[in-house]
Each structure stands twice: as C-alpha cells, then as structure tokens.
Symmetry: C2
Subunit: 214 residues, 2 copies
DNA sequence: TAGATTGTTAATCGATTAACAATC
DNA sequence: TAGATTGTTAATCGATTAACAATC
C-alpha cells in the first residue's frame, strides 16, 4: 500500500515509543502532545512528529495524540497483532534462558520447539517443551509452519544451520550467534551480538577515562 | 589526548571490524586493504578509511593495513586491554545464562559476584560463584572495587538498584532491564533491550509482507 | 621510478531540527 | 473565534561516499 522506505533509525525508536505509551496507559493518561512526550523520552517534538508521519498522521491538530489509539497503531506497525511460529535452535544456557525468560506468547510469537545437537540434552524439559535432536529439525519446520528461528548456537554451525532452515521455509532469524548470517535478501535477520554490546560498553568506559569522547 | 567526538555509528562498527580482523588473523592473512575489507564486510572502502582515521592512521600508503597491528589497535580503542570488575544483579534465567555463557574473563572483565533478592537462590552455585543476597550488595561493591554492574532484574527494581549502585561507586551498567535507567551523565549505560529487538524483527517481517519497506 | 593504496578534503546524501501554515 | 498542536515544508546538521593528492 504505502510503499515508503522507513529508515533503520525510525524502526529502532518504535519499540521505545511503545514502551513509554504503555506507561502512560498504565497511568490512565488519555492524551499526550508531541512536546510532552519529547520531554519524557528525551527527544525533540519535531522528531516524534516526523517519526509518526512516516506512517500517516495519528494525531489531531490542537489536541495531540490519543494514547490508546497511538499505542494500538504503533503495535500494528510493529506487527504485534500478527502471530508467528517460532523455534529455538540451541538449548544451551542462552537458549534455555530465552525460552523461559522471553514472554514470546504475549507478543504473538508462538514458541513451538527447541532443538540441540547435544544428545545429552535430548528429551530435557524446558518450559513445556522437550529438547529435540537436530535430525528432526527439517521435518518439524515443514510440518509446523515455522517462520522464525532463534539461533543460540555457536558461530561455527550458525551459518550452515541458517541456510538449511531457509531451505525449509524459515523466513526470519533472531540471531544470537556471533557471526553474520549469509541468507537471501528477502530473509529477515535481527542480530543480537552480546559480545559486540559488551565491547561497546568497554569502549564507552575507556573513552570516558581517556582520549576520545563519544 | 585526542579529544575527538566519535559518533555512535562508528562505535557500533568497531566490534564488527574486530570480528572480521580476527578471522583474517585465524587464516594467517597478514595484510588487508580497505577495498578488500570492504568487500568482505559489505561496506565501502571509503567508510572504512574514514572510520579508522577517527583514531589516527593505522595503514601504510601503497600497502594497506597490517592485520595484526590493526586488530591490536582496535582492541585497544575498545579498551579490551583494560581490566574491570563486574557483578551480575539478578540470578534468574538470564543472569545465570550470562554468567555461564559470556566469556567475561577473556575480554578483561573479571566476574566477581552475582546477587539476587530471591532468598531461595541464595547460596546457589553459578559457575564458580554463590548467589548473594541484596543486603550484602553495597559492602561487596565498595570492598571489591566493582565498576560494572550487569542488570538482569525486572524493570520495577532496576532504576532503584542502579541509583543505589551509582552511590557505591559503580561506573557502568550493562542493562538488560526493559527500562531506561536514570543515572548521572558521567555514568556509562549500554542497553540490551531484548523485547525491543524482537519487536524490530516483527516489524521487518511485517513490512516485508505488506506496506512499507525498510 | 611506477603502482598501489592510504589519509583527507570535497560532494552528496540522509536524518534531525526548526518554522509555520493548516486545522481541530 | 482564539488557542493549541499537528502535519509538512524548509533549513541545518551529520554521516557516508567520491575524488584525489600524498606517499609508501
């Protein structure tokens, strides 16, 4: 429909908007102006209005934005009203933690299974799932219409497994492996490189103490 | 010394440079030109040279960059040669996973302790640490010169605990709580908002299927 | 010296901020 | 209607890309 290009910067701000709007909702605040929101969120009012107008206007002149309506619209933009079928590849520390910790279902992500190559883990119960062997992966993906794979496996196997999953029809990856996946460009990848994040923290500490500012 | 402002965009690319340089090192490749690196990393050669020259020139005209030297210099810029004392607040799924999964020591981060308010967890062994009660937190931080706290606690307590830790001398936070911390501006915060990341994934899937491009 | 590739300046592109007319 | 605040255009700022002189 719209056929507009949304910049990465805007996309990154959307979940944060949603978070602050949820807070306003919790406090039973019905309306908010761009300048009020800008103060709470430490942005400029102009940027907020520009951001929202990437998706068409959600406000009313002279009034501001209805909190509930704005929240719902942004949730829709983020696709949180859609449902997806998700599996986790890698039942190590991180995979298990995400299975237990993330509230996948609340965001429309149906957690359907967890896999690992380590046979000591096979059959282990994680949340309400049993760890399955990698041999069963392809069939499971095809039979259960899996569209998202969470990769919490070592980088050595991540690229290969991702390719395999693309061939089975997986459309998106939440990638925690410390490597850049090689997938066709219509496949969605969202990287969470924890090591990179820790290095950024290190840089900021370092640059504070010494040389360069950031 | 230098007193230059490094943009957020450049900082974010540094760990990725390091990753690819490590790969070249592993393959015993001694030199690399900006244009070779640009092809591997899917960047422009110009951007790479601009990035490096934020910190002074690391290359030789007509030759390129020495892989080992460049790696070491970027590691130094990231402060990976420095040591830090780190604790984890929150011994739930995520806190435990990070304690076990992250190779803190390898990057100069000395993992010194893990804390939780849940007394059922107190004394539980995680890696080579025992979970300590929050009551012992302040003394421990002061006595052990802790400068970094990893926050894997719910957002409801994160802001308060962060303030408390700042008062005890903590200088940096690796924040996994789904909230923006309120700390003085000389305190370093690196956020890992996993929910936000998942929503971005959702957006990208959604925008592929329908309306807007990204 | 000739060839290659950096370091750096200039040009372009994109994102943020400012300004204001439209309108609730 | 008057006041307020959006939606949107224009101005500014910053980051990326292109070009090329410096130099190994």
């Amino acid at each position: 429909m719209d056929e507009k290009t949304i910049s990465q910067a805007v996309i990154s701000r959307l979940p944060r908007y949603l978070r602050y709007l949820a807070e306003l909702k919790d406090n039973n605040i019905e309306r908010v102006s761009s300048s009020e929101l800008s103060q709470i969120m430490n942005l400029t009012a102009s940027q907020i209005r520009q951001d929202f107008n990437n998706f068409g206007g959600f406000g009313q002149q002279g009034y501001g934005y209805k909190v509930n309506y704005l929240y719902d619209e942004i949730a829709k933009i983020l696709g949180l009203d859609k449902t997806h079928h998700l599996i986790i590849i890698g039942a190590g520390n991180l995979g298990q933690a995400l299975a237990n910790y993330m509230n996948f279902e609340r965001r429309g992500f149906h957690f359907k299974g967890i896999f690992d190559s380590n046979e000591k883990l096979h059959g282990k119960k994680i949340r309400d799932m049993y760890v399955q062997p990698m041999e069963d992966l392809e069939n499971f993906v095809k039979e259960n219409d899996i569209d998202i794979a969470v990769l919490t496996i070592p980088k050595t196997s991540a690229v290969k497994v991702a390719e395999q999953l693309v061939n089975c029809g997986v459309k998106a990856f939440w990638n925690f492996a410390h490597v850049d996946l090689k997938v066709p460009k219509d496949i969605v990848v969202e990287n969470v490189h924890l090591s990179d994040s820790l290095m950024k923290l290190s840089f900021k500490i370092n640059s504070q103490d010494n040389d360069f500012e950031h």
